[in-house]
């Protein structure tokens, strides 16, 4: 087949039959040069063009539809959401559909990184079009068979139906013919009101696997002949092995080998000693017998105190401007109504419920890995580059993830497993104990925010935030340290930039050997606290109601609708004076979230959170129940980071090692959570993360409302307020 469809605007459609003549497979791929939406192709002649097909939808002769999910399932529901989108336009019943994980392959699937809450917002248009194109081709095949016009036919529940005669053909009988149909130049997508699947709280198909122990997480995966390894890594992140006595460990029955391993972590290598054994328990026991001396010269051994002292000091520097408008300095200096405040947020561990682990099997110039992996395509290219083997020789298999939150997007643990397998010439599963997982990082960076601003005529006249924090992008060797942190203003509602005449956002990158990495909602997770606490303090200084104050600074329908909804759900105008109410509004990953928190003192005089109300505008959305679950989860995670746990450093090492010293919120500490999702036709925004940032400021604003006491440093203990 020739490239006749080359000139279709923006997207090309190709047919291919390489998989099987008895199956009809259609998907899209991302041409090397394209950014954003990929090109839709089917499985007929991608081979001739040398294109590797992304097999999104495959329908076999028995009518079984297999959907390939290219995103990780780490709890956020992509296992359900992606197929729900495709099945809507394909007109199949989701129950008749098998879902498999796509292995890591960026050529096929474009970015597979499950991060930035991007699963839906990054690909939903292409997914809809792919489903619709397949449907049209199946209709065309049936119409040809009946010798009628395609317009006389429609598709429903996996069948094509001829409207006037009522004749029906199942998709299975049409696959061979459909694969030969030309790809439609244009497809008409359904309108939201006609959706049968999208917008409905359909049950997640992965859930039954998670209620009877059948779901296979990374840690549950077993490969024939697999050995187990645990690694004693340098507790100070960058030190070298000075001496090693492994004789006792090696003498333990079941221990196969003790190997030194240097795992790349950003611009450094983390040295460690791996004990490889025939069982995990044996490896764990033998590890305790290792005698290692570390050479920890040549880098700082920081403590939390020293680190935060440095960040506070750094606020005196001008900083690297990320975003500005008007003239902050001039207006701030001349104002009689100035605010100058500092907010602090802690370092945090991701502490996914499933500790890190990965199985690797290196055989000659081939490598296969299995594990809980957020970015399979990144893992694939990382291994290919570091082992210097062709990318197609690297297979990355995804299992279920027992949580990810950003941590499992990083490729250190996967490559460490590769190194150990290479040495052992066998498949090896490397398991991180909870202690390894909690102390080795990368962590969410803590931050100190210097906020200055002034009020004029009841409105914000000038506004400046300086963020002193480690810049995650500056950890690679040779990173440009003169460049501002692009995420400095992340989390600030976009409409504020229009209403505040003079503003400036700048960062001062903190120097530290502590590795840092995305943590659910990334910089917004800490920025939101500073921004929306400061806005609240400005509202108070302006003697305005905090909701009205935000309303007057957030022009635009979407913001106003969120505020209306908050006002309604809190009964804001008539709220009781005995309750403390606080609100906050943040925007991240193109989603606007307003949250309100209600606090009161219980009979013993202790502060309790009675209720959290969350209103999310994430634009076009798929499954409201999954969104609600993500909002609940984000709020619980935010509650932990605001009031329960913190990672400290002492002498260059993380202090908290397990849940006894790094506790988690428990069921008895969870307030009632009410959720409202706004219905509109805006572009899809993120869902898995954006509900996190607004919680901590809304809580602290509520405590201020009740007690008059401002909390400017997280975490704090509710019992001590």
């Amino acid at each position: 087949m020739s490239l006749t469809n080359k000139n279709i605007s923006r997207r090309k459609f190709v047919t291919v039959s390489s998989l099987s003549s008895m199956a009809f497979t259609i998907g899209f791929y991302f041409p090397a040069a394209s950014k954003g939406i990929g090109e839709i192709i089917t499985a007929q002649n991608a081979d001739e063009k040398g294109i590797e097909l992304s097999a999104w939808i495959s329908i076999d002769a028995a009518g079984i539809v297999t959907l390939l999910n290219h995103r990780s399932e780490m709890g956020q529901g992509s296992f359900q959401t992606v197929p729900q989108i495709i099945a809507e336009e394909l007109e199949v019943d989701l129950d008749k559909v098998k879902i498999t994980f796509a292995p890591g392959n960026s050529k096929k699937f474009g970015s597979q990184i499950t991060g930035g809450s991007s699963t839906v917002r990054g690909s939903y248009k292409a997914l809809l079009q792919t489903g619709a194109a397949a449907r049209e081709m199946l209709i065309a095949a049936a119409a040809k068979n009946w010798n009628v016009a395609p317009t006389e036919c429609y598709a429903a529940l996996g069948m094509v139906i001829h409207r006037s005669s009522g004749k029906k053909l199942g998709y299975g009988t049409l696959v061979a013919a459909a694969a030969k149909m030309p790809i439609p130049k244009q497809v008409v997508l359904k309108e939201r009101k006609d959706y049968k699947l999208i917008g409905n709280p359909l049950q997640r198909q992965d859930i039954p696997l998670k209620t009877n122990g059948k779901a296979i997480f990374g840690l549950d995966k077993k490969i024939p002949g697999m050995l187990y390894a645990v690694v004693e890594r340098n507790p100070r992140f960058q030190g070298k092995i000075k001496s090693l006595d492994d004789s006792a460990a090696k003498a333990m029955p079941g221990v196969k080998q003790v190997v030194k391993v240097a795992m790349p972590v950003f611009g450094f290598t983390r040295e460690g000693v791996a004990v490889v054994a025939d069982s995990l328990w044996t490896a764990m026991q033998a590890r305790k017998l290792l005698k290692i001396e570390w050479d920890d010269e040549g880098f700082e051994h920081l403590s939390t105190e020293k680190l935060y002292g440095r960040m506070r000091e750094d606020l005196n520097k001008p900083g690297l401007t990320q975003r500005k408008g008007g003239n902050f300095d001039a207006h701030f200096q001349n104002s009689a109504n100035q605010l100058d405040l500092v907010y602090e947020t802690p370092y945090e561990s991701h502490s996914c419920m499933e500790p890190l682990n990965c199985i690797a099997h290196v055989q000659g110039d081939h490598c296969e890995v299995w594990g809980p992996i957020q970015g399979p395509d990144w893992v694939q290219s990382d291994i290919s580059q570091r082992l210097k083997i062709p990318i197609e020789n690297v297979t990355v298999n995804m299992t279920f993830l027992g949580g990810g939150f950003g941590r499992k997007a990083f490729t250190d643990y996967t490559f460490e497993a590769v190194l150990i397998s290479k040495e052992m010439k066998a498949p090896v599963q490397v398991v991180w104990t909870r202690e390894d997982d909690m102390t080795q990082g990368p962590f969410r960076p803590g931050a100190v925010y210097g906020c200055k601003g002034s009020i004029q005529n009841g409105a914000i006249e000038s506004f400046q935030v300086k963020m002193a924090a480690q810049n995650m992008d500056q950890q690679a060797a040779g990173a440009d340290k003169t460049k501002f942190n692009g995420s400095t203003s992340e989390g600030f509602a976009e409409a504020y930039f229009k209403s505040i005449p003079n503003y400036r956002f700048a960062d001062i990158p903190t120097e530290s050997p502590i590795p840092v990495m995305w943590w659910r909602s990334v910089y917004s997770s800490t920025n939101g606290f500073a921004f929306e606490s400061f806005i609240d303090e400005m509202a108070h200084a302006a003697k305005k109601d905090p909701l009205d104050f935000r309303r007057s600074h957030l022009a635009g329908k979407r913001y106003q609708v969120v505020l209306d909804q908050l006002e309604k759900m809190t009964n804001w105008k008539n709220r009781s004076k005995n309750d403390g109410w606080g609100i906050a509004i943040t925007e991240c990953f193109k989603t606007i979230v307003g949250e309100a928190v209600k606090v009161s003192k219980n009979a013993e005089g202790k502060m309790v959170i009675d209720k959290v109300i969350a209103v999310m505008d994430c634009g076009w959305y798929v499954n409201p129940d999954i969104i609600q679950a993500q909002i609940e989860g984000s709020i619980v995670m935010a509650l932990g980071a605001a009031t329960v746990h913190e990672t400290h450093f002492e002498d260059g090492k993380a202090v908290e090692k397990n849940f006894n010293t790094y506790p988690m919120p428990r069921i008895n500490e969870i307030p009632a959570i009410e959720v409202h999702i706004i219905d509109n036709q805006e572009n899809a925004g993120g869902v898995g993360e954006p509900a996190l940032p607004a919680f901590a400021p809304a809580l602290c604003n509520a405590i201020f409302n009740l007690t008059g006491k401002r909390i400017r440093k997280l975490p704090f203990k509710l019992s001590e307020v």
């Binding site: 328990w281 500790p355 679950a629």
Partner: protein
């Protein structure tokens, strides 16, 4: 190494283990039942919860030598086909997110309902506060325990809903 007979979900497993090996690893790696999870290893998270003679225990903190020949029930023994009321309630309320903690939560909840068929919020708190869910599914866990209690007492009424 010693040989132990483990009675898990009504089946006998003869395993060779170090007497100090926690039951958790014997279940996962010797009996190959991977539904029971490792979360902390120090009795802090409850991911490893199983029943020992009907009582919930943290299998990470019980040595295998202490439980030989006793009746052990894991998530696989709650029911393999999701027919237990709690599993149905978990599905109905769409509790799991990542799902990693849920075996432990289900086992703790099963023991609770056996003891107290209609637990109050306080009783749920007491029975469940030893467990961690990092994904924050707590509101739904609470709801699902109540749904399951209803299902058990009025199976027909709930099915018809």
């Amino acid at each position: 190494m010693t040989t132990y007979n483990l009675n898990i979900n009504g089946k006998n497993f003869s395993v060779q283990a170090d007497p100090k090996m926690p039951l958790l690893w014997a279940i996962r790696d010797l009996a190959n039942l991977t539904g029971t999870k490792y979360g902390c290893g120090i009795a802090q998270c409850g991911a490893c919860t199983v029943h020992l003679n009907g009582t919930p225990v943290r299998s990470c903190s019980v040595p295998v030598s202490a439980v030989a020949n006793q009746k052990i029930t894991t998530i696989e023994g709650l029911s393999e086909d999701n027919t237990h009321a709690l599993q149905q309630a978990w599905i109905k309320e769409q509790v799991p997110q990542c799902g990693y903690c849920q075996s432990g939560h289900l086992m703790a909840a099963a023991a609770l309902l056996k003891r107290i068929p209609h637990p109050t919020d306080k009783e749920i708190d007491t029975a469940m506060q030893g467990l961690i869910c990092r994904c924050g599914t707590y509101p739904r866990i609470r709801k699902a325990i109540k749904t399951a209690a209803e299902m058990i007492s009025k199976p027909v009424a709930v099915n018809q809903k």
